[in-house]
Symmetry: C2
Subunit: 153 residues, 2 copies
DNA sequence: CTGAATCCGCATTGATACTG
DNA sequence: CAGTATCAATGCGGATTCAG
């Protein structure tokens, strides 16, 4: 995680302090509190998880692996539009986090199969729910977007 | 969506065709089929949804809005590290897709409140499940990553 | 207060060529 | 077959400034 550290607020406050003021945010109204569902630390990890699953290819790879081991080249065939580079990189990421297993057979020509680990399968379940949500709301979301776009034409 | 269209396979096949060969992928073994859980069209929309929810800030904003309407400046305070640009942009995206409502009060100084729509709340529910998954597997994932990293030091 | 507009560095990604 | 290496381009995201 690339921690930028200070954002909008911090910078603004530092400016005020440079101007000789202190206790800048003393008598402001209720600070709304970050979020009811997770603390800042959890938020970081949620983002890490989303970085893992929320990128362009991870979900498609996981979905393709759901039926059992698949070879590298077959993944390339099964996932249209992916480049070798991204396929390799994403697989490595997933493997690093323990979601995917890599098995290389010492044959010639070489054969490498990728499969979901138990952890990966548990994520598949969760991701499928998100996918279901997407499918269910698809038309509704598109309608909203169209309305918004035409209104701001 | 920036459709690159053709990927690894298409390009390779086109090359073969240019060399005068045809029916390149005729007698290859079983094509593994894209994915059992969705078709190519669904995959696109799932990716759009992930683009919406999988970016750096959307989830944090949605989580912060879960307790009710929040003002623009309070969102900036509540979400550490976000810049004005990204706050505005992300809110606009969410609003465009119908996940967030924007209410501007004609006062001076101006006041604008953002809140979750029903659609947004339903996404919150789904996302919270993913968050729960993250929290549950956090240590396991970290352990995998550490092992992988040290092994490839 | 709530943004919009601009500039710009840098990370991500894709295309291509090459290797064991 | 299963990658790696390298380069180029795109675009995200941050900082800053301006505006209503």
């Amino acid at each position: 995680m690339r921690e930028s550290g200070k954002g909008l607020v911090t910078v603004a406050v530092e400016k005020e302090i440079r101007r000789g003021r202190t206790n800048v945010r003393a008598n402001v109204r209720q600070i709304p509190g970050p979020c009811a569902h997770w603390n800042d630390q959890d938020a970081d990890f949620i983002r890490e998880t989303l970085d893992l699953v929320g990128d362009k290819w991870s979900v498609l790879i996981i979905g393709t692996l759901s039926d059992g081991p698949v070879r590298y080249s077959d993944l390339a065939y099964a996932i249209p539009g992916i480049s070798q580079r991204m396929l390799t990189l994403t697989l490595k990421q997933l493997q690093r986090s323990g979601l995917v297993d890599r098995t290389a057979y010492a044959e010639v020509p070489p054969r490498v199969e990728y499969s979901l680990t138990a952890l990966g399968k548990s994520l598949l379940t969760t991701v499928l729910e998100l996918a279901a949500w997407s499918a269910d709301r698809q038309t509704e979301i598109r309608r909203h977007q169209d309305t918004y776009d035409t209104r701001n034409a």
